[in-house]
């Protein structure tokens, strides 16, 4: 099997971007092949979203049971078998990978295991040549680290190693207070470790609405997690049975001792070894440059997902995959790409964090006149009844027309609630429609409507 006529499309990478794009391509009648060097599912299915959610769910269950006494639910001898927690997480990831392979078979997609590289008129996979009219680059990203924080898998880890490590450390320093950092902070702290999170920015979750990071830091303080914002990692001392991490803030530097150092400082694109330069695919700082329809600078070559940055979200990669494939099949108009202000972002520690659209500061910077409403969960019947009163919903709307510019949530279950806000953005609903929508009582979802009422100066329950 070789030659120009092999496939209409070869997808490099079977993560959430690549596999969804491949299935969509098959639906549209393109003869499609997928090349994956690891196994289907990508970081999301194997080393990210899915396995970490399994562990987070177990942590939340443990926290709930431990807190049961004040609600009249008594249990003795509550203990954690962390090795079993990790084992279950790996089982979930394995099932996920098999599920993707099944979907390839079901949709008649050829699956090639190996490392793919761009070639004129197609892709080379370990010496074999697959001809293709289109190539979709979806090779994803890997964990990054900082100088001096070389990953040894024993004392210094990234999330990749942490997801397989069956031992609970007594103490952890987490470098980086973004999504991955705060999720592992919650996991380790809930299962009993002494956790310190070090973040360079002034709040946790930099890039999101600043109120979210501040509220999360307060909730973490109540859980006994130390949060050092405005602190920069300096150096690492010793790697024998733990290490010292020196950090510097406005008030000078200090050294934090811990059994484990978790590095969560973002992700770097996997753009090496794809033959990008030879094929004329332009990159910037390693990220592939694309237009709104996900075309690269090389004819017939498209790219999506973590490889193009900067969203670095599984669902963004999937949505970009649809854009790319539909453009190839002439089903997508020019310029109708993915609007990043309609892509939700979710974080699964407790309290959960979720947002879609513009942060308040960004909306102001764009010159919008705003009406902002915030509704705390503690004022909501369902939140009190279920014992989850941390957090709030914040609605950022445009003053004159009520456009919902952004919705920012922190609290129990908000990663599910954000879907309603996403639909509101996509349908261009205004504050008026959100308020006119009857929300069931008692639910956590009422908070979105209440926050919108507050933005309009019409709050009922606060």
């Amino acid at each position: 099997m070789s030659g120009a006529g092999d496939y209409d499309l070869v997808v490099l990478g079977a993560g959430p971007g690549g596999y969804v794009a491949a299935i969509r391509a098959a639906q549209l009648g393109l003869r499609t092949a997928v090349v994956e060097r690891d196994r289907p599912g990508g970081v999301c299915g194997n080393w990210g979203c899915i396995p970490s959610k399994a562990i987070l769910a177990d942590a939340a269950l443990f926290a709930e049971m431990r807190g049961g006494a004040r609600r009249g639910i008594l249990a003795d001898n509550l203990r954690v078998d962390y090795a079993r927690v990790i084992a279950r997480s790996r089982e979930v990831a394995d099932r996920q990978a098999k599920g993707v392979e099944f979907l390839f078979k079901k949709n008649g997609i050829a699956y090639h295991h190996g490392a793919g590289r761009l070639e004129r008129g197609g892709v080379a996979v370990d010496g074999e040549r697959l001809g293709a009219r289109f190539v979709l680059l979806a090779s994803g990203s890997r964990e990054q680290t900082l100088p001096g924080l070389e990953i040894d898998g024993e004392v210094v880890l990234t999330s990749r190693e942490a997801l397989e490590r069956p031992l609970l450390p007594a103490s952890v320093v987490i470098v980086g207070g973004g999504a991955v950092g705060v999720e592992f902070a919650y996991i380790y702290a809930t299962f009993g470790a002494k956790v310190t999170v070090v973040e360079m920015a002034e709040t946790l979750l930099p890039g999101m609405d600043a109120d979210l990071g501040r509220e999360l830091a307060r909730a973490f303080a109540r859980q006994g997690i130390d949060v050092l914002t405005g602190h920069r990692y300096q150096s690492l001392v010793g790697r024998e049975r733990g290490a010292g991490v020196t950090v510097a803030g406005a008030d000078g530097s200090r050294t934090l001792e811990a059994a484990l150092v978790l590095v969560a400082v973002g992700r770097a694109p996997l753009s090496e070894d794809l033959g990008l330069d030879e094929a004329g695919v332009r990159t910037e700082k390693g990220f592939v440059v694309v237009d709104a329809n996900m075309r690269t600078s090389a004819e017939g070559v498209y790219a999506i997902g973590d490889l193009v940055g900067p969203l670095l979200l599984a669902h963004a990669a999937s949505a970009q995959g649809m854009v790319a494939v539909e453009t190839m099949a002439a089903r997508r108009a020019e310029g109708q790409g993915l609007d990043p202000t309609r892509v939700p972002a979710c974080i699964y520690c407790m309290p959960e964090v979720a947002a879609v659209g513009l942060a308040e500061a960004d909306a102001r910077a764009r010159g919008h006149e705003l009406r902002v409403g915030k509704f705390p969960f503690r004022a909501l019947g369902k939140a009190m009844a279920s014992g989850h009163t941390d957090g709030f919903v914040k609605v950022v709307s445009e003053a004159r027309r009520g456009e919902i510019l952004g919705v920012h949530m922190i609290g129990a279950g908000v990663t599910e609630l954000i879907a309603e806000a996403g639909l509101a953005r996509t349908l261009e609903a205004t504050a008026e429609e959100l308020v006119a929508t009857v929300h069931a009582h008692p639910t956590m979802a009422e908070a979105l409507r209440e926050a919108t009422l507050v933005a309009r100066g019409e709050g009922i329950n606060i």
Binding site: G280, S297, E299, R331, R332, A429
Partner: protein, 433 residues
């Protein structure tokens, strides 16, 4: 389930298309990717490709007849289904109407939108045929029945804009915020649809007879008239020494490979692309009370075809290397010659180039292609005595003239653009570095 085949929208300005020829006939099998018909649009003749397989059950528009964008022009029966769908299989209202009166240009006003996917009859699979593209259908409709987002309605109401006159680009032709904003901009400025270029054209041969204009010619006539009426043009010219560019062209052409077929037009396209990044005001559009600076530098190259002029678009001329521009331009030219453009070959230009250098035209001024702000007219390269360091020597000179929209571009900006362009073509190494 039978599948409707609809008239696709193949260019920004296309409102209806004429079936030139059915290549498949009722009863014949159709495979995915097979060409089932040839369609004449306002821009070019294009092929209509099947995106579903099955048997052609029914043809609703005869050869030589036109149908509005979105109208059902044929029905495919799925493999295994009978070729002729009975009434129960869904020959509903649209089909019945079509049988009585074939959908010619006089289709009911709301037809283009009514044919949008969301309104497909229940029980019928709907698949757009070739490409689903924003609908600039200008048909007046009933404001209350218009599909529009709440935000779009709010803005339209504030601004006193009639939504029935706005084309929707959202799912199923729904009017969304950016459609309303585009319509508001168009109220004050030129229509946002890019179209015909400016260069003069060989006269049609028929003398003394009245000859119907081709669709391409009719669009050109309309757009050029609008441009000259609406846009205050001014013109600036520069003489460019092409000796170095000629040497570079010969040297590169001798390399063959990716530079095979390199022309002066390719060099000028690359030079204009770079010059526009240094004089970005010319890579812009006038938009009511704003000036829209385009990030992409996409250059439309006016190209003569049998029945008029088309403007295929070379993309990212600023950042694409010369070899890639040659490759793009070669593909476009081949498709222009065969009259079979891909769906986006003709859209998205931010600046236009009209080169008459292959004819004995020393210089000319072109008409701006709205909503672009400028167009460059390129004359022939001529051998002429020039004075260099006090000596009269033979030189190769080319005169270029840029036409600018004076509402957003002033003379000095045009002059700076010409200075950059001249510098790039006279020291052309930057074009390949």
């Amino acid at each position: 389930m039978p599948v409707d085949v609809t008239m696709p929208k193949l260019s920004d300005t296309m409102e209806e298309g004429k079936i030139l020829k059915w290549l498949k006939h009722p009863g014949e099998r159709v495979a995915i990717g097979e060409i089932i018909a040839e369609v004449e649009t306002d821009k070019a003749n294009m092929e209509l490709e099947a995106y579903d397989e099955g048997t052609l059950a029914e043809v609703r528009v005869r050869e030589g007849e036109s149908a509005p964008v979105g109208a059902v022009i044929a029905v495919l029966a799925a493999p295994g289904e009978g070729a002729a769908p009975g009434p129960a299989a869904g020959a509903g209202k649209a089909a019945a109407a079509a049988e009585k009166a074939p959908p010619v240009a006089k289709a009911p006003p709301a037809a283009p939108r009514a044919a949008a996917p969301a309104k497909a009859e229940p029980g019928r699979a709907f698949r757009p045929t070739v490409v689903r593209r924003p609908e600039p259908a200008e048909s007046p409709g009933d404001a209350a029945s218009v599909k529009a987002s709440p935000l779009a309605r709010r803005i339209a109401h504030d601004q006193g804009l009639d939504l029935a006159r706005v084309a929707g680009t959202g799912p199923g032709g729904r009017i969304v915020q950016k459609d309303v904003e585009a319509a508001l901009a168009a109220r004050g400025g030129p229509s946002p649809a890019p179209a015909k270029p400016a260069a003069p054209l060989e006269p049609r041969p028929a003398a003394g007879n009245r000859v119907d204009l081709s669709r391409i010619r009719r669009t050109t006539a309309k757009r050029m008239g609008e441009s000259k009426r609406e846009i205050p043009h001014f013109y600036a010219s520069a003489e460019i020494a092409m000796d170095e560019a000629a040497r570079l062209k010969e040297a590169l052409a001798a390399l063959e490979g990716e530079y095979a077929g390199l022309t002066y037009t390719h060099l000028v396209v690359k030079a204009v692309g770079l010059a526009l990044t240094r004089a970005p005001a010319l890579n812009a559009s006038y938009d009511g009370d704003a000036m829209v600076l385009h990030e992409a530098v996409n250059i439309g190259v006016a190209t003569a075809v049998e029945d008029g002029l088309v403007v295929p678009v070379v993309r990212h001329c600023d950042r694409e290397p010369l070899a890639a521009i040659v490759r793009q331009a070669r593909g476009l030219l081949e498709r222009a010659r065969s009259g079979r453009f891909a769906s986006d070959d003709l859209t998205g230009a931010t600046f236009t180039l009209s080169n008459l250098g292959m004819l004995p035209v020393t210089e000319f001024a072109a008409v701006i292609n709205p909503p672009q702000a400028a167009i460059l007219a390129v004359g022939t390269i001529r051998e002429t005595p020039v004075v260099r360091e006090g000596q009269i020597v033979p030189g190769r000179m080319m005169t270029v003239t840029v036409s600018c929209d004076h509402r957003i571009i002033d003379g000095v900006l045009a002059g700076r653009f010409l200075r950059e362009l001249k510098g790039l073509l006279e020291n052309p190494l930057a074009l390949v570095l």
